[in-house]
Every structure is written in C-alpha cells, then in structure tokens.
Amino acid sequence: MAQAAVALVFWLVASVAAAAEGPRDVGQVSDADVNVVASQLRCVVCQSLSVADSPSEMAAQMRQLVRERLAAGETPDQVVRYFVEKYGDWILLAPPRRGFTLLVWLLPPVAVLLGLAVAVRRVRAWTRRPAPIAEPVDAAMRERIRTELEAEP
C-alpha cells in the first residue's frame, strides 16, 4: 500500500515534470503518446477507423502533425482541440458529453435501468403467484391408473 502510494507520488511528479518540459525533439515523442491523441480522432477518409488505426496517407499525415504538436509542447487535449477547431465535433470518435450528443451517453444506462426494473417487477409477480394445486384424484381414476399399470408388461 505504502509502496503504491510512493509510486503514485513519483508518477505524479514525473508527469508534472513532463508537462512542464516544454518543446521536445520530434523523435522524443513516443508512439504511445501519439496514439493517445490519434485514437480519439476519426480517420477522415475511412469508415469507422481511428487516425491511430488507419493505414491511409491522410491518417499518417495527421499522426505526424500530432507528433509535431506534442513535440512543440502542446498537451494531448490541446492537440485534440486543434482538430475539433478544424473539423468540428465530427472528428471525435466519442461524441462530446454535452448538448444533444449527451443523449448517446445517457440513454443506454437509462434503458438498462428501465429493463432491470421491468424484469424485477415481472419476477416478483411470478414468484408471488401460488403454485398450482394438483386436482385431487378420485377413486375411479385411482383404480384405472392401478389397472393400467398392472397391465404393463
């Protein structure tokens, strides 16, 4: 636990230091850093692919631009904002959590909760219903069952 806390503090200090570092060499920006931004962006010439995953030339140029902007000292958020400024929210693979597109985030959990509520109500109704009681067998029927069983080879 204490080790984890120390590790966390070190990580925080390291990331603050990295953020304050300012301009870097383009070669110093890791592919992972580029992908953090590129995976949020829609490849504009593809269908359902992110800039991180697309093999297209346009996506390669965008990744290079992301790398250069990160190297120039911009934060990942600032780079994403640059693309939104040029292409609109359309460029974002995840719709923004505000305005009309907030519905996309809210409706599925609401639908799941509603479904659960309906299911719970139904199950309760079924379990409350008393089990059907078997109709009593009269003497004549009992006699018939007995003879038919005995008739079995």
Partner: protein, 176 residues
C-alpha cells in the same frame, strides 16, 4: 395501465426507428465546416514551378481555394475545366483561383495540370498540413474566401460554373 402494457414495447421502438430513418436520409459527406465565418488560415506552399505561393499575398481579392488530387476520379477531372474557364472569366475582376494538390506525386500533379492546361497558380501540400488546417476530408473541396480574408463558403464535390459564379458574385458585391 394493465391494458397498455402489450403496446408499450413495440411503441418504444418507434422513436428509435424514426431516428434511424432520419439518419439514413442524411448525406454522410455533408459535414458542416466549423471554418465558415472564420479567418482563412494563411499558408505558403511551393508551386509546381518551385515558386512560393502565399495566401496572404492575395489579400484584398476574392479567393477561390480548391483542393484537388490527380487520383481523384472523376470529380476532380469534371471540375478542372470548370475552374479554368471560370478563372479566365473572372481573373480581371480581382478574383484569384488557387489550386492545392494533396497526397499526390509531382509527376501525376504536373500531368494533371498539363492535361487541363490549368493557368491559375497550383501548389503542392507536402505533408498535408494545409489541408488539415482547412479541415479537408476529401477531394475536391473548394473554399470561397472574401476580400477580408474570411472563409465564407465551402463546396464539397465537383464545382459547377453555376456554383462558382453565385459564390464569387456574392463576394465581389461586398465592399472591400
């Protein structure tokens, strides 16, 4: 309430289906550009002759900025003669057509320019920075920039003489 139950389930699907139907009627290529009404990003690119071409030098003129590529069949091939004709018709009226060739090779771009005898300035966007700066997601795309340097309209797909004339006349009618 009990009687309404059987209807509620299919009824709840109606708004979802309506949204789906609405979505199918939209043109996925028709994405509104957030750049309309904003200052056009200035750039300096090299023309095919190796001369620097700067957008800032054209300030005060109505600029028709066209992004194209030689591999863009057939739309770019349809509009190239339209652009050349329109440029010749308007070049003496403070209108400039600027072509930017994107994601292309020099040879293919040169051949395209020669094939259509394009006489307006054409530059190459090596690295794609200028096209990304204009939020270009395909070719051809054309931006109409007013005398003050503000992007006023964007045309996606092959340009027609009609569209060119309407946009340019509108911007020419405004005071410089």
């Amino acid at each position: 309430v009990k009687g309404a139950w059987p209807w509620l389930v299919p009824l709840s699907a109606v708004p979802v289906l309506a949204l789906l139907a609405y979505g199918f009627h939209l043109n996925p290529r028709d994405v509104a550009s957030p750049l309309i009404g904003r200052p056009a990003a200035v750039f300096t690119l090299n023309t095919f002759d190796g001369q620097p071409l700067s957008l800032a030098d054209q300030r005060g003129k109505v600029i028709v900025l066209n992004f194209w590529a030689s591999w863009c069949q057939p739309a770019c091939y349809d509009e190239a003669p339209v652009l050349e004709r329109s440029w010749r018709a308007y070049r003496d009226r403070d209108v400039v057509v600027v072509g930017v060739d994107i994601q292309d090779t020099v040879e293919a771009g040169r051949k395209f320019i020669a094939d259509f005898s394009l006489s307006f300035p054409n530059a190459r966007d090596v690295g794609g920075k200028t096209s990304i700066d204009y939020g270009v997601y395909g070719v051809p795309e054309t931006f109409f920039i007013d005398r003050k340097g503000v992007i006023r309209a964007k045309h996606v797909g092959a340009l027609t003489e009609e569209a060119f004339r309407i946009q340019v006349e509108r911007l020419l009618g405004e005071p410089a």
